[in-house]
Subunit: 191 residues, 4 copies
DNA sequence: GATGAATGAGGATTCATTCAT
DNA sequence: AATGAATGAATCCTCATTCAT
């Protein structure tokens, strides 16, 4: 029998890709840079991936999964809607702070030519538990009836903006501001 | 006397760049494509610009200026804060809808490795009238005291998210949702 | 005891090579394609052959042997020269028609850089019975004295050209033309 | 104004290609080898040609033209058919002897994956005067009625085989053999 | 000023071959 | 024996930039 494909090596390739995209954007990405950073030969990458797009899309899905799990952590559907709302808001906010670099990657990916239809759909699927929470809250009459687009606009957009602002060092970490943002969002969305 | 550099040609180069980035993203951009689209020779670009980065950054500043002017259109400082707030919100919202492609460029640019420190600061400067409005409103006690980061998070982020959502065709144009979003923002920010 | 090299597998490799060369020419040939077609691992090929050239040359010799045998089939040296001449002409002609793909390979091989001096000589050796026929016929005074080069030019070239023309579908199968070609050749060569 | 494309350089590229194909076959051909042999940078080739195929096909057509002109040289349609036949036979034979290397290229080209439909047809077109001669001779009743495939088989194949044999040094130049071959062909084809 | 030609550097990908199991 | 993994070298081609006119 021959040597086995090492999960370690596949991981090294994706980690190298993640770091490079964060450091230099998708524009500067190249197979030879990935290989050098991963400590392997360029041709070895092709043992694990069919082409550049495959690395980038798989990395996207892995990160999306990692983060999706994080967002619903500790949430129970026995909680009141307001309690659940705040748990999820905090999780999401903390996740962006904790996975700052991974979120940077996700954002760059969305604006890259590499994104495939499959990845888009797969990525959306992993967001289902999050969207389900709002659907149920609307069904229960705890939250105003609104489209998914408006959920994104009212819930995610301001939170994400604030978290990224803090990440970039442009704002100080200010617990009052965070509470204000979270509370404003709840007021904006609750019935 | 020698021929002069023509502003017309410089403009053609930037317009070509804008269209290309919108159509194919920064990834597919190349000097030869810009030249072909602008109807000139590749080498001629170097008469007007030092390198790729210079085109991209100047285009960024031009667009930023165009849009900044739009945002404060019709606003008078004799208006009440609430009236001014709503005029600016609408202007901004309509601007993203109207200059959808230009905003796309701006977004791609912000995530590209081309952006220079100078551009960042220059771009921020053009936003001064917009930020001044909030500073004054806070000074007058009409709006809660908050950092610039929070202004971005509460005012721009949800509005921008909604506008882009409509632009991308994912949501229907829904005047109720727009009013809801604008009103929620006012509630969140007013004292 | 260790497993033995299997003649079956060696054959599968050569068959795969033959088919690939016929389908895509020497240009598209690669070890990985051969392996895939033969249903084995690339590295396994190196158990049976030293390198690409060895496969190609051995295949050449195998085909040459196959065809050489065919050409003299049914010929007896008790026949008259004219009878022998016509038997061999027909055999050869039918062989090109029957082994169209194999002849294609032989031709491509002759124009490739893979051909070795050893293969050339070995290949010529297998043609000996064919050339012996003409040597004897000249010795008996039934055929004009001529060099081997002229035998090739007058006997093989027109017949081969006609057969390949029919194979390629450019000409219809036309028994009269075949008879004409064979008869003309006999007239040209007989004393 | 900028530098002009030099016909010289385009020619150098095609000459380099011709030599390389003759020396190492199509298999060994590569852009970098062509560039080195032509004394220019690899990228410069792309100023003159779109891709490898374009070089190879243009070279084919150039050689085909060169040779086609040669074949009908000195032929007048006032000649008797037999006289014309022999003039053309000799021209063709001498041409293969004189342009030995170019014919080698033509042959390799026909068995390469580069050949395009356009080239095939264009190449055939240049052979028209040659084929016209036989059509007329048949119409006049001087030559047996036969298909183009049989013209190739009876006229070109033996002559070409003989010429190449001499070129390869396998046979001595033997005027008697040449006359014999030419005469046999005439006997085979005349009515 | 304008531009076509020229090019070194670098891109993705494939390949023949060797290595470790 | 059999084979999957690993890789250096090579392939085609594109690009930003400079040069010569």
């Amino acid at each position: 029998m021959a040597r086995h494909k090492s999960a370690k090596k596949q991981d090294a390739i994706m980690q190298a890709t993640l770091h490079l995209v964060i450091e230099e954007g998708f524009h500067g990405l190249s197979m030879s840079k990935i290989a050098k950073k991963a400590g392997i030969a360029t041709a070895t990458i092709y043992v694990y991936f069919k082409n550049t797009g495959e690395i980038i899309n798989l990395l996207y899905l892995n990160l999306k999964e990692l983060i999706s799990a994080d967002i619903m952590k500790g949430y129970k559907d026995t909680m009141t809607t307001e309690k659940g709302f705040k748990v999820i808001w905090r999780n999401y906010f903390d996740s962006i702070r904790k996975y700052a670099r991974e979120f940077q990657y996700l954002e760059q990916f969305a604006n890259s030519p590499y994104i495939t239809q499959v990845s888009k759909e797969e990525g959306r699927k992993q967001f289902k538990p999050f969207l389900d929470f709002f659907d149920q809250a609307m069904a229960h009459g705890d939250i105003k009836k609104m489209s998914q687009g408006l959920v994104l606009a009212l819930f995610i957009a301001p939170m994400s903006s604030l978290a990224k602002n803090i990440n970039s060092g442009q704002s100080q970490i200010d617990e009052t501001a965070i509470e204000l943002a979270m509370h404003s969002t709840w007021l904006a969305m609750k019935k």
